[in-house]
């Protein structure tokens, strides 16, 4: 690295780019298979991502491979690289990205797509996979967006769909130094979870895949308890978004909320045992010095034996001064969980919709009684800061549902006053996001809401919630619109994303950086109505060649039920025939 004091001192937080953290890889031997895990956002965001840490530690545990890291740099650093004629480099050995065998990009959210191109550009790597010869690294995409990465398909060599732990090890064992890309692709095609976009042809009218004889099955780690999990995570030297240890209690969710992509693509539910979670928590605390562990999952309150787990963790002498946090608690399943907290801080819940009818439409499966009783318990336990998340623009939504948000807030205030006295109010914050239809959900076919409709609803909430003393935050419409286009996108969007990047769009997930006008300019060439209007259930979808295990018929049927406000039970209470049993088994059923 040819950067000295005079260069680095001009940069905001230079340590973002320099590595040297405890537990980071020190043995970067380029005679081994070299990997760089690239996160298309800032260091502070990327280093808070547990998936990256798992794969990083996993690859570094292999004898013949090693893995480094790289994050999207801020503009000041990018400008300095350009001025000095330097290329984007890894944190550990400060090697330019071009010189690695594999670059692994994770796509956690659609608004990071331009940052992927930004990183390739700074690394001086051609954007399109067809323009990259064998001297360029093999570029792999993964993460939740991998279930429909068609908008980036022309740029990526390989897409890994599903759980990355086992398939990445397979890929590392198959690859040999100096192997041509073609030879490698020939050897890995057909492995569950491996999608090589260049091998598929596109129907130019509908932009769906035509030559797909067999769907690409997502990779599933069947036994999560025995799967690799991190025990020596890299400890950042600077503060990051989530600066704590993290243990995943289980993967998947049985609730079946109809808007939630994670609820479908991560099926089936696979839990870790209490002993395993205690062991992992102890090793992380010993190996990092962290004083806080987050016990995370898609719905932590649904862990089979949460109270027993809390008891065991509290008994463990290594964990005696450790604070545990339980994110993603549902309103109907958090009872007792807050006994963990030593201090009374705020609680966050997501009723998602204001009326029972709409909660039934989206299959949230919580009642107003659940909400009010849970909050009563919380108020009795001296919590007085409550954050509530709702979505607006949901299918079948009317103004009555929006009024329902205000009514619910009033009822929560009454519950609080019933406990604390008439003159007191809880610190209540309502946040609304805009419903974005995502692939592989029953709502994948739905229309994205109109701007006028959303503006009217947010204006109403602003006025009414202010009148009753409730704080109100809401999401930007334009970002959600672009997110919808990218989420349900096809290969036509490759050009659009590249244009947007060339026009200067980067860090689109950051509201202060997002530039809607430039995106509109980039979208000029295509008809966006195809991406935001309701999609005909009978036409092929750009992601139809991917098989996540849940059948399209099931999703259609769920959509039909939503129109009648009919709920579907949690599949822990009995199989709902989503298709996973045929796909290769569903542990949830065996367990119950």
């Amino acid at each position: 690295m040819n950067l000295n004091y005079s260069d680095l001192i001009k940069i905001e937080k230079p340590s973002r780019y320099l590595g040297g953290e405890f537990n980071s890889c020190e043995n970067c031997d380029f005679t081994k298979i070299s990997n760089c895990f690239c996160f298309p956002d800032l260091y502070e965001v990327g280093m808070s991502h547990t998936g990256m840490k798992i794969l990083y530690e996993l690859i570094n545990s292999l004898d013949s491979s090693f893995c480094e890291r790289c994050f999207a740099p801020k503009e000041d650093f990018a400008q300095m690289l350009n001025e000095k004629g330097l290329k984007l480099f890894s944190l550990e050995s400060h090697t330019q990205l071009k010189d690695f065998d594999f670059l692994h990009f994770t796509f956690q959210y659609e608004m990071s797509y331009t940052n992927f191109l930004y990183m390739l550009d700074l690394a001086d790597i051609p954007f399109y996979s067809k323009d990259r010869d064998d001297s360029c690294p093999i570029i792999i995409g993964g993460g939740p967006c991998a279930v429909n990465l068609e908008p980036l398909a022309d740029f990526l060599d390989v897409i890994i769909v599903g759980d990355g732990e086992e398939v990445n090890v397979k890929l590392q064992s198959i690859y040999k130094k100096g192997m041509s890309k073609q030879e490698f692709f020939d050897k890995i095609k057909g492995i569950d979870g491996v999608y090589i976009p260049s091998l598929y042809e596109i129907n130019e009218q509908q932009f769906s895949i035509v030559n797909c004889n067999e769907k690409i099955k997502k990779a599933i780690v069947k036994n999560l308890n025995n799967a690799f999990y991190l025990s020596k995570p890299v400890v950042p030297n600077i503060d990051i978004v989530h600066n704590r240890g993290a243990v995943e209690l289980f993967r998947g969710c049985t609730r079946g909320c109809r808007f939630c992509q994670a609820g479908y693509i991560y099926r089936p539910v696979r839990e870790r045992t209490i002993d395993k979670i205690c062991d992992l928590s102890s090793s992380i605390v010993k190996n990092t010095g962290y004083g806080e562990i987050s016990l995370f999952s898609l719905s932590t309150g649904d862990y089979s034996n949460l109270l027993e787990l809390i008891k065991k963790l509290k008994e463990n002498p290594i964990l005696k001064n450790v604070k545990f946090s339980l994110p993603s608690l549902r309103l109907d399943s958090f009872k007792g969980a807050y006994s963990f907290e030593s201090k009374k801080s705020s609680l966050t819940f997501a009723p998602e919709a204001g009326t029972q009818r709409l909660r039934d439409v989206i299959n949230k499966n919580i009642t107003e009684d659940n909400i009010l009783h849970s909050l009563e318990d919380a108020f009795n336990a001296n919590y007085d800061k409550i954050k509530l998340y709702f979505m607006i623009g949901l299918p079948t939504e009317t103004m009555l549902d929006i009024q329902g948000i205000v009514e619910l807030s009033k009822k929560i205030q009454s519950v609080y006053q019933g406990i604390k006295g008439n003159k007191k109010r809880p610190k209540l914050t309502v946040s609304t996001s805009i419903f974005v239809p995502k692939p592989f959900t029953p709502f994948q076919f739905e229309k994205f809401a109109d701007k006028n409709d959303i503006t009217m609803k947010t204006d109403y909430l602003k006025k009414e919630l202010k009148a009753i003393g409730v704080n109100y935050n809401y999401h930007d419409y334009d970002i959600s619109l672009i997110e919808t286009i990218l989420a349900r996108g096809d290969r036509k969007l490759a050009k659009v994303i590249l244009n947007a990047y060339k026009l200067g769009c980067i860090f689109d997930g950051w509201t202060d950086k997002f530039n809607y006008d430039k995106w509109c300019q980039a979208l000029n060439e295509i008809d966006i109505t195809n991406y935001i209007n309701e999609i005909d259930e009978n036409i092929p979808l750009p992601w139809d060649h991917i098989d996540i295990g849940v059948s399209k018929e099931y999703l259609k049927n769920e959509r039909k039920k939503s129109r009648e406000a009919q709920t579907t039970r949690d599949c822990r209470q009995g199989c709902t025939n989503c298709g996973l049993i045929k796909f290769g088994g569903c542990g949830v059923i065996n367990k119950i």
Binding site: N4, I9, S15, N237, I238
Partner: protein
């Protein structure tokens, strides 16, 4: 109670004062050494540091005082250095009884500023001391050796001069790039010819 002398070198020089404090606490926790905590609503570890070194400056003269019942000093050095991130190392540890007042003890620090090229202008002829009022009582000593500037600058609560300020001033006379800045010693000021390394006083 322990007094430690540590260094932050290489890329670790770009870790800020507060972040460095957190990293040291975490490293000690990894070593299984227990701290004493402050009393109050938000108990925190009782650790006190010498005044901050500016970001990007490598330092061989950082000190911290740690309130703990742990007293195995040899093991402390061994464990800390095994479990610390790259660029952060402890040089020595002492058992002490009384909390040293770093801010009272420290008056100035010695820096070596490594430059990208030898200077053309003869800096020795520029009378910095006294020439610029801002620097008059803050530059204790300055000399030029090959590609390096060696200087002793005010450091601490009473009077302080960041090397970057001196560099900016010199760059108005001749442009140069700085490769690195190293802080080598902290001194107590008796008189101009009598600077005592605080190692001797702790």
């Amino acid at each position: 109670m322990l007094l430690i002398k540590f260094r932050k070198v290489g890329t670790f020089a770009y870790i800020s004062y507060l972040d460095c404090r957190d990293v040291i606490i975490q490293t000690i926790k990894r070593a299984g050494i227990e701290f004493s905590y402050s009393q109050g609503f938000n108990p925190h570890e009782l650790v006190y540091f010498t005044p901050p070194t500016s970001l990007g400056i490598e330092s061989f003269c950082e000190y911290a005082y740690i309130v703990t019942d742990y007293n195995d000093i040899d093991n402390f050095v061994l464990k800390f250095n095994e479990l610390s991130p790259k660029g952060l190392k402890v040089d020595w540890v002492k058992n002490i009884d009384k909390k040293p007042n770093f801010y009272d003890l420290i008056d100035c620090a010695k820096y070596i500023i490594k430059l990208s090229k030898p200077l053309q202008v003869d800096f020795s002829k520029i009378d910095l001391v006294g020439d610029d009022l801002e620097f008059a009582d803050k530059v204790f000593n300055i000399s030029y050796i090959d590609n390096e500037i060696h200087c002793v600058l005010a450091c601490g609560q009473k009077n302080n001069l960041k090397p970057s300020k001196l560099i900016s001033h010199l760059q108005t006379i001749e442009n140069f790039e700085v490769i690195k800045i190293i802080k080598t010693n902290l001194y107590n000021f008796k008189d101009k010819n009598n600077l005592i390394d605080i190692d001797m006083l702790l």
